[in-house]
Amino acid sequence: MVRMTGSQILLECLQREGVSTIFGYPGGVVLPLYDTLPQFPAIQHVLVRHEQGAAHMADGYARASGEVGVCLATSGPGATNLVTGIATSFLDSTPMVAITGNVARTLLGKDGFQEADITGITQPITKHNYLVMRAENIPMAVREAFHIAKTGRPGPVHIDIPKDVFQEEAEFEWPEEINLRGYRPTTKGHSGMIRRAAEAINEAERPIIISGHGIIWGDASDELVELSEKASIPVITTFLGIGGFPETHGLSYGFLGMHGMYHANMAADEADVVIGIGMRFDDRAMGRFNDFNPDATIVHIDIDPAEIGKNLPTAIPVVGHVKRVLPELTERLERRDRSEWLGWIDRVEEEHPSLEIRETRRLIPQEIVRTLYEETNGGATLVTGVGQHQMWAGQHYFYDSPRKLVSSGGLGTMGFELPAAIGAQMGVPESEVWAICGDAGFQMTMQELAVCVDERLPVKIAIMNNGYLGMVRQWQELFYDENFVSVAVTQPDFCKLAEAYGIRALRVESKGDVLPAIQEARNYDGPILIDFHVDQDENVWPMVPAGAALSETIEMPEKELVR
């Protein structure tokens, strides 16, 4: 056995866990760790400009690559700055390990300089957290943290280490096995339940699959395609489930929810058997719970038993890993002709098209997203912020494979886009990453532009600049009598701002300039920002008003049709 310092032990453990990139920011109590970093050249440290950015980068890295993202911050304010990013990861179940330093053990609990009870703070927003009080306990904490973060329903795990534990020496021993007796995710589905699910589906006239983020994290896209093709079951996804089922597939009917496709919402409401797979029947997806398709038999397949029956009464629960459960279910499904049902949805889609881009005089964001789709052949990775532009990026780009849309769905964190895009680009260096930004959200984390320059990342930054907190403005227009309060955002000249960082910038104000700007950005090997000045009044449709049922989906009002 080798004697090492706590810092060396931590970095050795991270290396053994396969960590190649850490997004972090130094500070007092983590200085011993930073002092040790050069001894581990295989681990690249990315210096962020705000710790929130570190957490979002780790998250974006994880979502794009499928690997655990790692972020690092100092005690007190450094640690609390991670909180929004950890909560974002928690609500969307992405694997992340967040590491913080804390004050020395003798000062813990004494309100010393830069002390925060960060494990107390992160406890409800992590899957698990650790305060490691001895250097010798670091290996087990790291081993467990990575195991917990990436298995079962993934999630963020936080490790807090006091300063003197980094400096303490201990014998390094890599734990070959872990045995968490309180953590044994169920992966194999109950065969009796799978049989019952199969029976219900086989008897169904109008079954529908709602697939979620779990398909992506469970790496079960192929299994889902096989299932739906065998039994001719139409598939709609949740917002985070986008890409889990190829959107250009004949059985794909888009995504459902507050701004989902009209026909997807109607199909979910009309189905006789609703099969939720790797999703959690969230309120934004399902509308008013009490009035969600009361006649449907709900089959729910998920790895987290606590999600079963949480929001909607479930007739047939299957707890297990989608990659194991779906093939078993498929095997028991009968091939059936469901052309009548599929025809019904097709007719609704024809009569109520949600994705038509209408002719307008002014530049609208939908058109930009669609042009980007056509120009990239659907091959790019889009990383969005939160709000109108997020919904348009979900609606008007078509994702044929997982991990191509990276977005904060659960927590709805504005400012996620730029740092998460940086993380995504670093996680999958060869991918074409577009940060689709709102002009308001961009201003929350825009300091991370510096990281694009530092790391020479070819991230394309597209700001859908309407001068408003667009989604808030939309709600004030529709539900608060057009009483617009604190939604018009003054802003810097984004092009000058980008140029100040040494980033190339383009401004697009007319429709004709959209395609050339996108082409120029794609041909440019480096970070580039496009400031798209778009129509200020454009709203996102269709829409299920908050508290309404999916059956009450509203389409674009006539008065908005021409602009």
Binding site: R105, A141, E177, P305
Partner: protein
């Protein structure tokens, strides 16, 4: 789901076997607060296995479907086992200490009351008696009611603890202690007074 229709019993008795580690109580309490489950009482103590604690939690049934309580508890990494004893044939016990006002005239009468409830006199002064009573909640409530006319100077009550009747147990499986001990050693999780490995 029978437990989610809101017609379940008023109170649920949930027993959780948890890792004996700092922060576990906060995790459990935090979970209940966040999910809006009301805790009527909570009692924690050691189990027959070193390193494991037993929590008996009485949950207000109206505040939450007990199935959700159980499942959310299971999501905590430090929670090893959860049992709902609400519908089991179970023994539940609380302990209470009551300091009751009395004098030379009514002391005997009060002692008679205590006898009926099989309460022990654990302390006595010229103008008070301290009674210790063990039983389920109803019995303790009964004694309190009977003592009220004398004047209760002080009352201290533990939370309920519970155990199933008969040979059936709600603890971790009997074949597990060795495995548990082995895991403990390998994880270096001896709980020590200073600097324990902690996970809160």
């Amino acid at each position: 789901m029978s437990s989610s229709n809101g017609t379940g019993p008023a109170q649920h008795t949930v027993v959780a076997i948890v890792e004996d580690k700092p922060g576990v109580l906060q995790r459990v309490a935090g979970l209940f607060r966040r999910r809006g489950f009301n805790i009527e009482s909570l009692a924690v103590g050691p189990t027959e296995f070193e390193g494991l604690s037993r929590m008996t939690i009485i949950v207000d049934g109206a505040s939450a479907p007990v199935e959700q309580v159980e499942k959310q508890l299971y999501k905590l990494i430090d929670v090893v086992k959860v049992n709902d004893l609400t519908h089991e044939d179970a023994i539940t016990r609380e302990l209470a200490l009551l300091k009751v006002r009395c004098n030379n005239v009514n002391r005997h009468e009060l002692l008679d009351v205590a006898n009926v409830f099989r309460a022990d006199v654990v302390d006595m002064a010229t103008n008070s008696l301290t009674l210790q009573v063990v039983g389920d909640g109803d019995k303790i409530n009964g004694l309190i009611q009977m003592c009220e006319p004398y004047g209760i100077r002080e009352l201290s009550r533990t939370g309920s603890i519970a155990m199933t009747r008969g040979a059936k147990t709600t603890t971790v499986h009997e074949s597990e202690p060795e495995a548990i001990a082995r895991v403990h050693q390998s994880q270096g999780r001896r709980v020590e007074a200073d600097l324990p490995f902690s996970s809160d």
